[in-house]
Symmetry: C2
Subunit: 341 residues, 2 copies
């Protein structure tokens, strides 16, 4: 089989055919420890030890979520897996499995698809999960749908709606790294900070921080996919509270490598404000880091990876909560990303 | 909320925005009896009473799997749900939930998306399942990914690889109806048989037949999505056996409405063979009916909805099984559908 794959990896998907493609992809995606029926039957069967399953799906579309000129097949596989797996961690659950659907042009190089499978399989393995099955189809551009599964191991799911006035707001993982990496790629300065570019192309969510937060008694949690302020807005709305972020608490996020990248970008582009303002913009509104934001009762002693960045206050009763302020003031301008606008 | 949706249903997705779209879709997709956390958080949480979950994903792409000129939004929702739910039933599991990802142009009429959600929700409900969450994105054409979940209720999953020589082969649900309906649409004769056209646009898999087969001791089972002969080939290959289909056993499938449609199509097109040959072709090779084919020990008394159509024999040891014959002979020509060729 290996020899066959090596030989055919020079061609396109049309040369390989559907069953050849599925076989070649499957060889690069380990089933993981939870799978009892994996790739090759009508459905997969995966363990759900707690008697319930946590699940989320995310699309990754060429031209919308990634460009093949910027991202390798491996990059796209890692990022597609990370986006869905972070949603599992954000409930406090342990990732168990991925289902992947891949549509692509018949002219797609087989090697790209194999690299995609390897990236997806590697990120699943990093999260402790396996790849249990999928679907393939032909399309004019590359389309990926990844469904992630997880288990709560008896813990209660941490929802968006449980934050209370007096709670602290904390973040695990970087902020603004993906946005800074995107800016470096767009300015054709990728060599300035390989880690920031990597953070954009291959985000690395802190999966273990999710179940850790659940064990510590987190009252609410969210995957930071659209930007810190937008995603805290979802928590504030669901919880009927207000959240304030203190910029003095963001010092750890605003230093290098973000500061270095902001200085370079602001000197070379038409960005009108200071490098400090650009760095703050990335940290507050940059999406796709897939770090975790959670609220905790103030009495909880937080492990080192959780950085307190703000606090929860009572919401304005007339607005039913949902306000997010920075240093007590509403921040002008868009807070992050919304589709269809 | 209802007034707001009614008003905005006249516009496009761009008018509604992402959150408006999600809210409007969610109102048309009931969460079902197994869901503890539904649409609106990072992930959903759904019951897995047996301690494991059965799961499958299928893509439905505009221009590949459906045409908006033939299929309404409701049709596409029903069919996308049915394709994935049939994979759950084909393992012997009871469907519990769907996750849906929808990408579409910003110009898509809101009413189309609402009809899609209603169709998806209706088919999920017909299967006893609910819609637990999803994802949306913008794309140049309509792309749908549906992940279905199910529970085995303590039964063992019925795989493709368990058929033994001496077993009977039986089918629950229609054969060739989707292919005949497609032919009527292509010939611009849809009024000739509304049930066949409906079978193509809105297949109606016999979900309950899956767990029923598992309880009866089915040795192998598959969802007939690519065509009877191709899908029986998957069973024969996985089981290391040969399967023979007897045309004398197909009489129930070859009568009306198939016979009527075959007579009409063969008289109006350049199809060179007889109406009988066309009908047999639809029944043996037409895909997308999402009926179930299963093998059973010969001692099993089959309920009325299971029609015996063939038998399992020992496979040729040199070929490791996989052969499918019709009346003892290999059938020339393609056996069904394969992507990327």
């Amino acid at each position: 089989l290996e020899a066959e794959i090596t030989e055919s990896s020079a061609g396109s998907l049309t040369d390989l055919g559907e069953w050849g493609l599925i076989t070649a992809l499957a060889a690069r995606m380990p089933p993981g420890p939870f799978t009892s029926v994996g790739i090759g039957d009508d459905s997969a069967v995966v363990a759900a030890p707690s008697g319930s399953v946590v699940a989320a799906v995310d699309l990754s579309l060429e031209g919308r979520h990634f460009l093949r000129s910027w991202s390798s097949g491996h990059d796209v596989g890692v990022k597609a897996a990370a986006r869905s797996l972070a949603d599992i961690a954000a409930m406090g659950a342990v990732p168990t499995a991925l289902l992947v659907a891949l549509a692509a042009p018949g002219s797609l190089p087989v090697q790209w698809a194999l690299d995609f499978a390897a990236g997806l399989g590697a990120e699943a393995s990093r999260a402790g999960a396996g790849v249990i099955g999928g679907d393939t189809a032909q399309a004019d551009s590359v389309l990926v749908s990844v469904t992630a599964f997880g288990d709560l191991y008896g813990l209660t799911a941490v929802l968006r709606g449980g934050a209370s006035p007096g709670d602290v707001v904390a973040v695990a993982g970087p902020l603004g790294h993906s946005a800074a990496g995107h800016a470096l790629l767009a300015a054709e300065l990728p060599s300035l900070s390989e880690p920031l570019v990597a953070a954009h192309l291959r985000p690395s969510p802190p999966y273990e921080a999710g179940p850790e937060a659940a064990r510590l008694g987190a009252t609410a949690m969210i995957d930071i996919s659209d930007g810190l302020l937008v995603d805290l807005g979802h928590v504030a709305s669901a919880s009927g509270v207000a959240i304030d972020v203190g910029t003095s608490l963001l010092a750890d996020f605003l230093g290098d490598p973000i500061a270095l990248a902001a200085a370079a970008i602001s000197s070379r582009t038409e960005w009108a404000a200071s490098p400090q303002a650009l760095a703050l913009d990335w940290v507050l509104t940059g999406g796709e880091d897939h770090s975790l934001a959670a609220t905790f009762p103030p009495s909880v002693a937080l492990p080192e990876r959780w950085h307190v960045i703000g606090s929860v206050r009572a919401g304005d009763p007339e607005r039913r909560g949902g306000e997010v302020t920075v240093d007590g003031a509403h921040r002008p301008g868009p807070g992050g990303w919304e589709h269809f606008t």
